[in-house]
């Protein structure tokens, strides 16, 4: 343990209201601590610069999954284990389930939360690409009220985001509009389980015969934030799936992402693999023509 433990404060407010009040009174002094799977790792390494935390782990207001005809709404504290176990998510949001299944080991899945994954702001996080593909929206609450923001645009740069110091994430909402879209997710990590992503790809497309009517693509670990690849999407929208369209899209993708060299991988590898994954995704659209199932998932058979 490389931090001076006695100097760190942790309080456990009994209600969301109490938590928000404290955040309002002393913004930037208090930070939420949910499952701790990011914060405690920093703490161990002596890299936790912030000193005062509010444990929100037991706040029931931030828990539970709610299903309405339009949306599936997940409490901020929804864990990876809970994501995988939910029948509607399994059926309609398989990419999120797969991301959850491939995050850490069971112990991490039991404690790690979706909101924590988002706010931690790692470009290598595995759920955000799926959330981007599903056009997720996020509810931010403070003592003064709540606001919904699209997840697309939430991250403004490396570890910066639109969340204000006195706000916390309360819920994450997924519109149930992707039924019938073809889905693809593939995480490329350092090993088969419990690995940090070197590249992570989530894609979904609405096909009409051989034409891409609409498409979403998001990649992890190829830019300072998890990136929705809007330009590549635009290059593919309304295109017939063909070798020419693939080649053009791969070029656009190369322009759109900005991978780097780090201790886990190289920029060249990330670029090449991102392009290869795009091709694998598109090939699948081609192979399955008008068939509107999620068979895409088979690509990530690991």
């Amino acid at each position: 343990m490389r931090s001076y433990v006695p100097a760190y404060e942790l309080r456990a407010p009994q209600s969301l209201e109490a938590a928000l009040e404290l955040l309002e009174r002393e913004p930037d002094v208090w930070r939420p601590l949910a499952g701790g799977t990011d914060l405690m790792v920093l703490f161990e390494a002596g890299k936790l610069t912030h000193r005062k935390f509010l444990s929100i782990w037991k706040l029931s207001e931030l828990k539970g999954v709610e299903v309405t005809p339009e949306h599936v709404t997940l409490g901020a504290l929804t864990t990876y284990t809970q994501v995988q176990a939910h029948a509607v998510l399994q059926r309609e949001f398989p990419l999120l389930c797969q991301a959850a299944r491939e995050t850490g080991g069971i112990a991490t899945q039991n404690r790690g939360t979706l909101a924590g994954n988002i706010v931690n702001g790692s470009p290598a996080a595995d759920s955000p690409p799926a959330l981007l593909v599903y056009d997720a929206q996020i509810e931010l609450v403070s003592a003064r009220g709540s606001r919904w923001v699209p997840y697309q645009g939430f991250h403004t740069g490396y570890k910066t985001m639109v969340l204000r110091p006195e706000e916390i994430i309360r819920r994450i909402r997924l519109p149930r509009t992707k039924q019938g879209w073809r889905q693809y997710y593939r995480k490329v990590g350092t090993r088969k389980a419990q690995a940090i992503s070197k590249v992570c790809f989530a894609g979904s497309a609405q096909m009409q015969h051989n034409t891409i009517r609409d498409i979403r693509m998001a990649l992890g670990s190829v830019a300072p934030i998890v990136l929705r690849c809007a330009r590549t999407e635009a290059a593919l929208r309304s295109q017939k799936v063909s070798a020419g369209a693939f080649a053009a899209a791969k070029e656009v993708l190369a322009q759109e992402i900005t991978p780097i060299d780090d201790m886990r991988s190289t920029a060249a590898y990330r670029l090449r693999v991102a392009q290869n994954l795009l091709e694998e995704f598109l090939l699948q659209l081609q192979n399955n023509g008008g068939d509107e199932s999620h068979r895409g998932l088979a690509a990530a058979e690991s």
Partner: protein, 747 residues
């Protein structure tokens, strides 16, 4: 008298304590008034210490602070050479070099304090690579940066090139590898100037620590006591470094007058303690048209890091294993261990052999291809046969049959059918499959005259209750020492498994049975246990108390009567070399090892050309290891070694940054998980060895040698790309594939 335990999977002696969490490892021990210790390290790869200052805001008066000037005896870690200081005094030669030690009752505060110590170090130009060290860009050690060099000569290599039909050359590299035992290094010391020094801790070699502490404190042997606590894995990583930590804890205890515990956290353990030596091997091989080896020239270099430590012996084993299990009439091996400004590299399962065997087994595939033979056919034509000599002139006296091992491994892995099928099906597939194998051997026990120098001793003592205690310094580190010693002693004496007790290694009460390394514990020390047991029996028989065909109850009666009339009932046994063993250190000629274990390993892999990920899908390990004392433990050794070698081949990449390990976290230094290992299928052949207990040989290191080349050979089979280094990270496979694709385009 019944003999029934050897060859049977009796329950592990300390199994119950381990599965219930009752086993006590060093960090589980607490002493009254104990302080915690921490190490302040240089952080500069090479330089001169100009000053040490203690920053503000820390109650320094509460701390015990130790620097080089507090050392009562010699400031070096006594091992082979005396060049590595306990605490840097003037010069620093790597960036994890200990400079200041701190102790305080509160662990949390210790970390704050460690950060507040500032070292002023004038930087000197460091050397980080084998090439820079060989080129003597800077002289950083001795006169020429060489810790040790060997040359082995057999026949006349210079003559063969002219008459060779083929000459094949290649260069191969292996990276550093972290042992990554799950229990980090740790020690507790009690040291009182008048009384002496006692340490408890995680270690493989209590008498190494003992020797080092005697020198550090200038104390006689009886004033230093070293006790092993339960040890959570070693793999070589707890062979030499425990002497360093024990010394540090003891220095703090000596100065403070209180017990001091030092436990490394994972990051410190990974960065500061020893790792496997990186290596570079160059081969030049002459072969005839009919596929016979005519000559081999091998240049083997290992990076020893900043101090000598065990590099000379690691180099020696790597050198002797470099020509593999093949017969070649003309061999020249030149080998060197060089200095760099990295933390010293050290012992790790295989001890130099995995490096040189990787090079050879990759190279021979290249040779086979050059002369148009399959890898298996080329090896068949060159396997060493009984009566032939190795590169050091050792005549193979055992009935080795490498051909048989190869055939069996190929059949068990369905090698021929699979290679044919993959060759048919791979083209156009994004996931390409391949098969590869490696043939190799591993010498058991110390190299050359090592065992004679060690002259190990084991004692057995019987109690009036008819229980027998084994007294040895050989440590249980997971490999099963306690269990196999009990089996051997019980069978030799015709007793039950439970009537044997293994004393915890404690230098105050056990004799020096040598270090727990080099696959020697079962074969060499186990033989001493057997001999001492027979000695005990003879004493009882000779005294007239023990009848022929006795029962355990009879044994108990005899012990009781003997002890009542003669006092303690003990028997000891000391190592004697097997007859006819000769070794000459000066010429590096003779019987390098008493015996070898022999093996052929086959790997099946899939390479994903979308992501360049490589997975091992099946693994067959066939080996001849003499009599298998305990089938479950033996298979467990092989499986664990293979998994570690899969990591060596595919995942475990030490990222260096200015001589420091950059990825010293488990998140970033990747070892295989339960999902990454294939089924590991283990098969033994048993040719009893006359000088091992019940015919056993050593096997602990063997599995580390062959898996990596088998896997890389399989990658070549799958992709057509020849890779010459490990680990094969997806990034490097991508580059290699791109180079090959370009070459194909140009052709």
């Amino acid at each position: 008298m019944k003999k029934h335990l050897i060859g049977r999977p009796v329950p592990r002696k300390e199994g119950r304590a381990k599965v219930t969490g009752q086993a006590r490892y060093v960090d589980d021990l607490v002493f009254p008034g104990m302080l915690y210790g921490a190490t302040v390290r240089s952080r500069v790869p090479r330089g001169r210490i100009k000053g040490i200052s203690f920053g503000e805001g820390i109650p320094w008066h509460e701390f015990t602070i130790v620097t080089a000037k507090d050392i009562p005896g010699e400031n070096y870690v006594a091992l082979i050479a005396h060049d590595q200081p306990y605490l840097a005094d003037g010069a620093v030669n790597h960036s994890e070099e200990p400079v200041v030690l701190l102790a305080h009752p509160e662990k949390y505060l210790l970390e704050e304090a460690r950060r507040a110590v500032q070292l002023e170090i004038e930087a000197l130009r460091p050397t980080f690579t084998i090439e820079d060290s060989l080129n003597k860009k800077e002289i950083i050690w001795g006169e020429d940066n060489l810790f040790k060099s060997y040359s082995v000569e057999k026949g006349n290599v210079d003559e063969v090139w002219a008459r060779a039909d083929f000459i094949v050359e290649g260069e191969y590299r292996t990276g550093a590898q972290e042992q990554l035992y799950i229990e980090t290094n740790g020690m507790i010391a009690v040291a009182i100037p008048e009384k002496g020094v006692t340490v408890w801790g995680s270690m493989q070699c209590p008498y190494y620590v003992h020797k080092a502490l005697m020198a550090l404190f200038g104390l006689p042997a009886d004033k230093v006591r070293v006790i092993q606590s339960e040890t959570g894995g070693g793999f070589g990583g707890k062979e030499e470094y425990p002497s360093m930590i024990a010394g540090h804890a003891a220095l703090l205890a000596w100065k403070s007058g209180k017990p001091v515990k030092i436990i490394y956290d994972r990051a410190e353990d990974m960065a500061a303690t020893t790792k496997r030596h990186p290596s570079r091997t160059r081969h030049r091989t002459a072969v005839s048209k009919d596929g016979k080896l005519l000559g081999m020239e091998i240049d083997f270099v290992i990076d020893g890091g900043a101090y000598t430590t065990l590099s000379p012996v690691v180099l020696s084993r790597g050198t002797i294993h470099a020509p593999g299990p093949y017969f070649c009439p003309n061999v020249r091996i030149r080998s060197r261990a060089v200095a760099t400004n990295a933390p010293p590299h050290g012992a790790f399962r295989g001890f130099g052999a995995p490096q040189s065997i990787f090079a050879l087994e990759r190279h021979l595939n290249r040779v086979a291809r050059a002369i148009g033979l399959t890898p298996e056919e080329f090896r068949r034509r060159n396997f060493i046969q009984p009566g032939q000599t190795t590169a050091t002139g050792q005549v193979i006296r055992e009935n080795v049959n490498m051909n048989h091992l190869l055939e069996r491994a190929l059949v068990l892995s369905d090698y021929h059918a699979k290679t044919a099928r993959f060759a048919r099906e791979n083209s156009g597939q994004r996931r390409k499959k391949g098969m590869g194998f490696a043939s190799f051997m591993h010498g058991a026990g110390f190299t050359g005259s090592g065992e004679q120098y060690l002259a190990s001793v084991v004692e057995l003592e019987a109690t009036p209750q008819g229980r027998v205690r084994v007294l040895a310094a050989s440590t249980e580190i997971g490999q099963g020492t306690n269990t196999i010693f009990s089996q051997i002693a019980a069978d030799a004496l015709g007793l039950d498994y439970d009537s044997i007790e293994i004393l915890k290694p404690d230098t105050a009460s056990v004799p020096n049975s040598g270090p727990t390394v080099a696959s020697r514990t079962c074969m060499v020390v186990g033989k001493l246990v057997e001999a001492a047991a027979l000695g005990l029996q003879q004493t009882l028989v000779g005294s007239g108390y023990l009848p022929e065909g006795y029962t355990p109850a009879g044994f108990e009666r005899a012990c009781k009567r003997y002890i009542e009339s003669h006092g303690p009932l003990k028997s000891s046994s000391q190592y004697q070399p097997p007859p006819g063993i000769h070794w000459d250190d000066a010429t590096y000629y003779g019987d390098a090892y008493g015996t070898y274990a022999w093996a052929v390993y086959v790997a099946e892999v899939t390479v994903d050309t979308v992501t360049f990920e490589i997975e091992v899908n099946d693994f067959v390990a066939v080996q001849e290891v003499g009599k298998v004392i305990h089938p479950v433990l033996a298979a467990g050794q092989i499986e664990g070694g293979v998994a570690q070698a899969i990591g060596y081949a595919l995942y475990e990449n030490v990222v260096w940054n200015e001589g420091r390990m950059f990825n010293s976290q488990m998140t970033n230094y990747i070892m295989p998980t339960a999902v990454d290992v294939p089924p590991i299928r283990v098969f033994f052949e048993e040719l009893p060895y006359s000088y091992g207990p019940a015919g056993a040989k050593g096997l602990g290191e063997l599995p580390m040698d062959g898996a990596a080349p088998a896997i890389v050979n399989a990658i070549e089979n799958a992709t057509g790309v020849s890779i010459h280094h490990i680990p094969v990270m997806p990034e490097s496979l991508m580059e290699a594939l791109a180079v090959t694709e370009k070459a194909v385009e140009r052709a």
